[in-house]
């Protein structure tokens, strides 16, 4: 056994020697593998980082939540002549009461929202008023950096308190703690009692929650009713200046469940209730957990695509190695003949040439791993993208590089071993 190990070491040493004899050629040969391995690691780390970000963002919406949102269906759009007509769409009080009766629901938090200009003594900015209930904070996983959220009693008493998003704070109270300060919306004054911690901007590219919640201002639901009523006035963009007035009771229900496993069942109940209560589909049901699963699915596809690209580059690298090994075999025909005459078996010759191709591809693999670890770091540094290098991607790609060396080394090695020793000895 000891002799065997020593034998292998000796063969490897011999391989290294032959490779060092042609430094430039060997280096060029392994470049294919280097790039293949580096791209596997780099692309997987970028993919992993992207899916991590997506997961985190979806988690912010709450994987325990079902979100029902009022949706202004295109059919209800009025013509410009009809400016005075009042539209009516979205979630109703009856919906809320009925949904609340579904078992295994912990909590249904309603919101009413409108876009408003918000001002302080320092300036003015457009934000979104979100009238809601105290449990909104917990259900949406929001954190406060200053002050507190409003309480049930303050909700009941319709206090004009506001909790502002981070961007509102940054614009209206850049240097001071806004708690206790006053903001003005329309002609109403609100006392700021809390500031929400900055949240990563939500997923772009999905229609879902693409708004920047850092521009939200949270007020008690009842306060919203008192000051803003139920009417949503929207400026429809178009060639003609055109106001649209709609009555919307609720913009969102955030349905918080006790148990994630019931999420699809509950969603189907919700859908049934809404289907029977609404004539047109003026609502949409969103399940963050499902989006999470979709994100996972997307990641899987992404990985397959990346994997195929990487596989192609590794195959190309392998062909490069095979090519150079074939040239080496021809070049060293005489040496092979000598070795055979001295007593080398076919197997010895095969081992020798395969070990050389494995050394080539393995070296390429190691350099590729180093490069593959550096590239994502640079990507993160220059683009701010999250990248996550997983240990298994390093192991996988290095193993593949060695496997490529063996696979593409077999043919040249066999060719070397099958040479007729007499012909080989005579080869000039």
């Amino acid at each position: 056994m000891k002799v065997k190990i020593y034998h292998i070491l000796k063969i490897l040493k011999l391989g290294l020697k032959n490779i060092f004899l042609h430094k430039l050629r060997s280096f060029l040969t392994i470049l294919g593998i280097v790039f293949g391995v580096a791209s596997v690691i780099a692309m997987l780390s970028i993919g992993e980082g992207a899916s991590y970000e997506a997961r985190e963002k979806i988690k912010q919406l709450g994987s325990n939540n079902i979100i029902v949102r009022s949706f202004n269906p295109p059919s209800s759009i009025k013509t410009s002549q009809d400016a005075a007509a009042i539209g009516l769409y979205g979630l109703k009080f009856d919906d809320l009461e009925e949904i609340k009766t579904i078992p295994s629901i912990k909590n249904v938090v309603p919101t009413w929202e409108c876009k408003e200009d918000i001002s302080s003594e320092n300036g003015q900015i457009t934000g979104r008023i979100v009238a809601t209930e105290p449990s909104f904070l917990k259900v949406m996983n929001l954190e406060l950096i200053y002050g507190r959220f409003f309480t049930d009693i303050e909700l009941k008493n319709s206090r004009n308190f506001a909790i502002i998003g981070y961007s509102i704070k940054k614009n209206l109270f850049p240097l001071e703690n806004p708690v206790g300060k006053t903001i003005k919306v329309r002609s109403y004054y609100f006392k700021v009692i809390g500031v929400v911690k900055e949240k990563a901007v939500n997923l772009t590219g999905t229609s879902f929650e693409s708004e920047d919640i850092n521009f939200d201002v949270y007020i008690p639901f009842t306060t919203g009713r008192v000051y803003f009523g139920k009417y949503e006035i929207a400026n429809k963009r178009g060639p003609v200046f055109n106001w649209e007035k709609n009555l919307v009771e609720y913009h969102r229900f955030i349905i918080n469940l006790l148990d994630t496993s019931k999420i699809l069942t509950v969603a189907s109940y919700v859908e049934k209730i809404l289907l029977s209560n609404h004539k047109s589909s003026d609502y949409e049901i969103l399940i963050p957990l499902q989006l999470l699963q979709q994100a996972e699915h997307t990641k899987k596809i992404f990985n397959i695509v990346l994997g195929s690209i990487a596989a192609i580059s590794l195959i190309v690298g392998g062909i490069g190695i095979m090519n150079i090994m074939l040239a080496t075999v021809t070049e060293r025909t005489r040496e092979i003949g000598i070795r055979r005459a001295i007593g080398a078996k076919k197997r010895d010759i095969i081992n020798q040439f395969i070990s050389e191709s494995v050394i080539l591809s393995g070296t390429g693999g190691i350099i590729g791993v180093l490069l593959g670890v550096i590239i994502p770091k640079l990507v993160t540094k220059f683009s701010g993208m999250t990248t996550i290098i997983t240990f298994w991607s390093i192991i996988l790609s290095f193993t593949i590089s060695v496997a490529v060396g063996i696979t593409f080394g077999i043919y040249p090695a066999r060719k070397a071993a099958e040479l007729d020793p007499i012909q080989a000895l005579r080869y000039e």
Partner: protein, 228 residues
Amino acid sequence: MSENNNVIELLNIKKIYKMGTIELEVLRGISLSVKKGEHISIMGPSGSGKTTLLNILGCLDKPTYGQYFFQDKDISKLDDNSLSEIRSKYIGFIFQQFNLIPQLNVIENISLPLFYQGIDENLMMEKAKDFADMVGLSDRLYHRPSELSGGQQQRVAIARALANDPLIILADEPTGNLDTTTGKEIMKLLCRLNEEGKTLLVITHDINIANYSKRIIKLLDGRIVNES
């Protein structure tokens, strides 16, 4: 078995090469026995089948017909692996072109046959040094073949042929690429080895070289025409 001390016994060996439809009979029935410790020269003009005979004797090639007894064992039907083993254990080759491996230094070249026997490294290096010493190259151990003269290269080749302690040394025109003086030195070295007990078979077309041996076999057109 012990009644006969023949290392090699050839019985009616024929070698036919097929080139397309043409059959070329290179050896036309060679019978020959080589005793342990003998020094034999094989002579003949080019094309007479000397090298083919040597290749068959050295287990590099197989006869088309006939039987080859190596140490009383018929090896004419053995497979490549077994023949490699015989070469590795019992046969030492010396070539006209020296045939050293250019990337390896002197001691590595000498130890190569031992490497294929899977011998422990320290022992291998020790042995290789001894053989380098024997051929008078102990001060050139780490030189590459390209840094040596022809005579020195052939000495390395001889040391290599000795490394596996073979039963028989087969030399194909060992002085063919050397000047007369160096050739003589090499022949002296080979004769010394023969005196020390090694069986030696030399192929040559030079009668002066052949005259070093007591037994000279002349080949012509694949047949033994004269033996003295």
